[in-house]
């Protein structure tokens, strides 16, 4: 079963959000990395780029597929996880830790409330697999 940590928020596009004040850290879930397979490349935005909630901020590539990654919240990128350029496999091995993708300064922190809880996300993925 895919790992779904309790303390995070989730989107229906399979991203997770960790909130620290008004900064949100974003990555893709264990379920997402598992269905993608071996991640070989991650394309990330530059610092200061602005994104609206549900807007694509980059992409994740496996050997034979490309998936866009969407920002679950609106705001400006504070930091992109540049070292994924050298070690994209971190997205597979540690999706909720070293596999994080961007930190974003939220312009509307209230958006987090509309995201899924861990339990809701687990139900959502179950429904999707069935």
């Amino acid at each position: 079963m895919a790992n779904v940590p309790e303390d995070l928020h989730y989107s229906k596009d399979h991203e997770w959000v960790r909130v620290d004040g008004d900064v949100a850290t974003v990555g893709i879930t264990d379920y997402a990395q598992n269905s993608l397979g071996d991640v070989v490349y991650v394309e990330l935005p530059k610092a200061d780029e602005q994104f609206n909630a549900n807007e694509s901020f980059g992409s994740v590539e496996s050997v034979k597929a490309v998936s866009e990654v969407f920002s679950p919240v609106s705001g400006a990128v504070v930091e992109a996880h540049e070292s994924l350029g050298d070690d994209p496999e971190k997205v597979n091995t540690d999706p909720y830790g070293e596999g994080w993708m961007i930190r974003i300064k939220m312009s509307n922190p209230g958006e987090v409330d509309s995201l899924l809880t861990a339990a809701e996300y687990e139900d959502f993925t179950k429904a999707e697999t069935e």
Binding site: Y41, E61, V63, K64, A65, V66
Partner: protein, 444 residues
Amino acid sequence: MLRQIGLNSAEELFESIPKELRLARNLNTPAALSEIELLAGFERLAARNPGAGRSSFLGAGAYQHYIPTVVDHIVSRSEFFTAYTPYQPEISQGTLQVIFEFQTLVCQLTGMEVANASMYDGSTALAEAVLMAERVTRKSKVIACGAIHPEYLEVVNTYVQHAGIELIHADFDRGTGQISGALAELLDDKTAAIVVQSPNFFGCIEDLTSLAEQAHAVGALLIVAVTEAISLGLLKSPGACGADIVVAEGQSFGVPLSFGGPYVGLFATREKHARQIPGRLVGEAYDKQGRRGFVLTLATREQHIRREKATSNICTNEGLIALAATVYLETMGRRGLQEVARQCALKTAYAAKRISEINGFSIPFSGPRFNEFVVRAPVKAAELLGRLASEKNITGGLALSRYFADRPNDFLVCVTEINSRAEIDVLVDGLSGISKHKDTKTPS
């Protein structure tokens, strides 16, 4: 077999096609020919191509060079020419390793860091380079400068016409035949790329180092097109001059003229742009036991995965011709390629000197040249060359009136290692003899 799948006639195989769409008659194409009849027919047609049998000084994007016998022997091996694209690496290592070697050779010759598995030809490779420059720089103005092969420019025009790219032409210098000062005025920070051919269409070598500096000063890329790839055996590589994308026509590397194709486009660039390259790439890989092999890689750039967002629509490329070029380059090797290039340059110098000494003939462009040069005749070039063909059985070059209405007396001469000194002397005698008769008037 029909009965085994429960059918009574071949017609029943096509029942999913509505009856009114099925052809109720035989195709109106010829009845079957035997091998003997077929070959006789094609030999008759081939005999109607007298151009193929003559000693020739035609170049302009397609060149006659010595082709070592081993090239056709290798490309005729079933295992290479009847294989498909190497999608299953375990049973395609032959093709894959050849492409890896091809990519390496292209990098070495162009002075670049990465090269793809081939494009259709030089002209489409150039068009793809222009599209790539737009993706890399996110700018849309492209300056094509100096004398670029007119057919290459037409192809670029076709490819970019719907891509929002503004293609501007900076003229060549009438004295040198090289790029002119007009370029400086056109360059600005909206420029995505400068496109240059070297040696250019008139055979003149361009100052690529200076062009690279000018391009980089405004944040643009330098795209270099090479139509005569043998020149890379003698000239400083475009990569060493600072080019960002190098494309070339690889026909000179062991590929027959074959009336214009199939040839092979070479495409190389800097490592940082690897993910923007069009077409296939082969990379090194290892199996579980640590054995080295090769696979198609970075495929997410390509159409079968990224569809309308792909870096190009290309799928089938010129695999077998890339093999021919690889066999050629490995057979000629480092010293052979240098020797061919040296012979081309020296024989060309000899021919240019002899022709320029003929009364009434001149060489209008002063720029340094490799193996092609423009000659200005005292009479209409097309007519002069026509008479040379019919009276002396030589194809003396290309009348530039084919592309440039304002150059009726100019023609482009190409000399390679194939052309002996004796042939050059016959050409010189022919030109001088025919032009002496002042009765050469163009019949309509």
